[in-house]
Amino acid sequence: MKRWGVLVGALLLAACSKQSAPLYLPEGENYPQTLSEWGMLKLGGGHLQPVAEVTPYDLNTPLFTDYAHKMRTVWMPAGEAANYGEEHFDFPVGTVLSKTFYYPRDEKGQLRLNSQDDRDANTGLALDRVHLVETRILLKQKSGWVALPYVWDEKQQEAHLELAGDSQSLSLLDDQGKALAVNYEVPDANQCAGCHEESHGQGINPLGPKARHLNKDLVYSEGSANQLQHWQQKGLLKGLPAELAGVPQNALWGHPRPGESLEMQARSYLDANCAHCHNPKGPARTSGLMLNLATATGIHSGLCKQPVAAGKGSGDRLVDIHPGKPDESVLIYRVESTDPSVMMPELGRSAVHHEGVDVLTRWIASLDGGC
């Protein structure tokens, strides 16, 4: 009798504070229907934040998603670590990566378009100042990675598994007082693979936690540190080169470090936003346009290259990148478009990323040569 009482009490406590331990799911398809069951994020005290065992992370140049802000986290089973690789890390079975998409909200409840950092290293996100849209989960199982979309409810209390995705009409107010209408699409589970299956036939893989994306500082509750070194210190990463100088690093979006040239900013942007499809094994391999870092600037990266199956995506322009002439480049036409059959990326946005277009335009304008 006594023992039962204790157990029930403990269960109740766990339920009230929504604070179960991170879920270890090495196999099986019994995926939680709700986000809270994963035990990665805790919702309470007016905040959403990673639980103690879960580590937040950030990227040098991230993916653009309709100006949504993102909180990313990683969790690995206790005692396990990822193996460092220059291109990919090898994560242990059970690893859970999460990415929560949200918009900042002003005191009137209006969603805002800005690039402020809303995350507090100690308290996470203040719920009265953000609107949560979705949380995406990548889970490493014995059979490979699984991608799961969770959509936040209107009360902002819970996110539910929606394999078929969702769409929401949102309006974002920028600092000049201009509203941007966003037709936000939560991808369906197959569409996740449309980006995350970076190499055909290899299944889903994480795209963000790579050395060149993670190699930057982040403010933790203990203070600021390089993320890779922090992961190593926490026992999450093995095999990191002793000298950080030997570790690749993409440009820091919006705040390029000294020496991060326009070309490097543009290439970092294409790396994060396009290369998972536009690489020799990716979903856009059929176009012959390779925007990954390993492809040198030349015809395969688009210089004077005729589009292959672009249809109206060509925009009546003759080549993907016309050096010196962004206005005659198919690439710029497609990043400026919001027509689903024209725009690039073809998934995951409904708004134009003006700052991204600006960097790409200036880069193409800076290239010499003709076609």
Partner: protein, 413 residues
């Protein structure tokens, strides 16, 4: 085998459709979610049946699981309409093998209607893809579009109104396209960078160009070995409404069959007629307006080993859709004259010439009764136009038929 039918919903959709025919299209959100959820959870052996009805969708569908069949009640009965589509670059995107789709229609998708990437053993049977407003530059690019696929059967399909190609097979291997119909597209049927394709018993009519066999540069695979035979290719004179920059943009209106930069192509036993520019065109990538800067090393822009025989040519060549050709027709054949049935742009790989002639196995061979061929000498600004057939009176070893299990199985039925 599991058979999933989307029946309950379909009935309510039908009812709704009958009750209020005039209202603008409202997305059948539940149907869309249910169908996409089925596609996500599908396992090998599953048959997903979609009953008769017109279903309104606003985002693209996708399938990743191999071994799945999608089946409608007929290509005029089960209609997936994407009018007003909000997201997704295609109607249905398939990245899977052992895939069969039959007896349904895709209408008014924003981009491509049915795209299949990178799978093996694909059957597309009695599928209609159509832009219901008729030919228009805003229409999606491709109707039926397998790319980087292997062992593909397209049988009894119907493709109407694509702003690029109605049926477009790209970078694939071992393909049969038959008993299908393509009309009012820029290109009716296009085989591009594909190794081994048989295109037969099809009808291509009312397109800008009827049947195209192309090679594009900068891709992982160069195409060869396509046979186009026993097709009806008639009256493809629609003004080119494709987009500049696309491979089909250079196709002049009034082209029956066009071979561009491809090798080992056999065109025989077709009925080809009523084409203003030419019933048959053999051309090089250079005629599409691009220079060497646009091709990676190793690309072969010359059409070689082309064998044309036993076709029945109807009228054609009386009003070419190209300024140089227009002038040329009048100067060579007079105001009421016509160009010969076969038009060749005249590009040859000079590195391969022996005594001024292409080796026999690389030649363009014509054995087609009285049909003539004109070499318009495009490389030299149309200066030395020639209708001398002597170096083209030859034959080539015939290509083997495509061996495709799914095509054989269908044959007896």
């Amino acid at each position: 085998m599991r058979i999933a039918t989307l029946s309950v919903l379909a009935v309510s959709v039908l009812l709704a459709a009958c009750g209020e025919p005039e209202k603008p299209a409202v997305t059948h959100v539940d149907f869309q979610k249910e169908l996409q959820a089925k596609l996500i959870k599908a396992k090998a052996g599953d048959v997903i049946e979609i009953p008769a009805g017109t279903y309104q969708l606003d985002r693209s569908l996708s399938l990743k699981a191999s071994g799945v069949t999608i089946k409608g009640a007929g290509m005029d009965k089960t209609v997936l309409s994407f009018k007003g589509q909000k997201s997704g670059a295609e109607g249905l995107l398939v990245d899977a093998s052992d895939f069969t789709i039959e007896d349904l229609a895709f209408e008014d998708t924003k981009g491509d209607s049915l795209k299949v990437v990178g799978g093996k053993n694909i059957i597309i049977r009695r599928v209609r893809t159509e832009w219901t407003n008729g030919p228009a530059t805003e229409n999606g690019a491709y109707g039926i579009y397998p790319v980087q696929t292997e062992n593909v059967l397209i049988d009894g399909a119907l493709a109407i109104g694509a702003s690029d190609a109605g049926i477009y097979v790209g970078q694939s291997r071992n393909v049969v396209v038959r008993n299908s119909r393509a009309e009012k597209n820029v290109a009716g049927i296009e085989i591009e960078n594909t190794i081994g394709a048989d295109v037969y018993d099809n009808v291509a009519t009312g397109n800008t160009g009827g049947i195209l066999v192309f090679n594009m540069p900068n891709l992982q695979q160069a195409g060869r070995a396509t046979r186009v035979y026993h097709n009806q290719v008639q009256g493809n004179n629609l003004g080119n409404f494709g987009h500049k920059g696309t491979p089909v943009a250079s196709v002049p209106a009034g082209s029956g069959v066009v071979i561009n930069s491809n090798d080992q192509v056999e065109i025989f036993d077709n009925d080809i007629g009523e084409h203003k520019t030419a019933n048959l065109i053999v051309s090089s990538y250079f005629s599409t307006g691009y220079t060497n800067l646009s091709t990676a090393e190793g690309f072969d822009p010359y059409p070689e080993s082309i064998y044309i025989y036993g076709n029945r040519f109807g009228p054609g060549g009386d009003s070419p859709d190209n300024l140089e050709l227009k002038a040329l027709r009048i100067s060579q054949y007079g105001l009421s004259g016509r160009l010969p049935d076969i038009l060749w742009d005249g590009y040859v790989n000079v590195d391969k010439l022996k005594d001024g002639k292409l080796p026999a196995d690389l030649a363009i061979c014509v054995d087609n009764g009285s049909a003539g061929m004109i070499n318009v000498d495009a490389p030299n600004g149309y200066k030395n136009i020639s209708t001398d057939m002597s170096s083209h009176k030859c034959s080539l070893p015939k290509l083997p038929a495509i061996e495709l299990a799914s095509a054989k199985a269908g044959q007896g039925a």
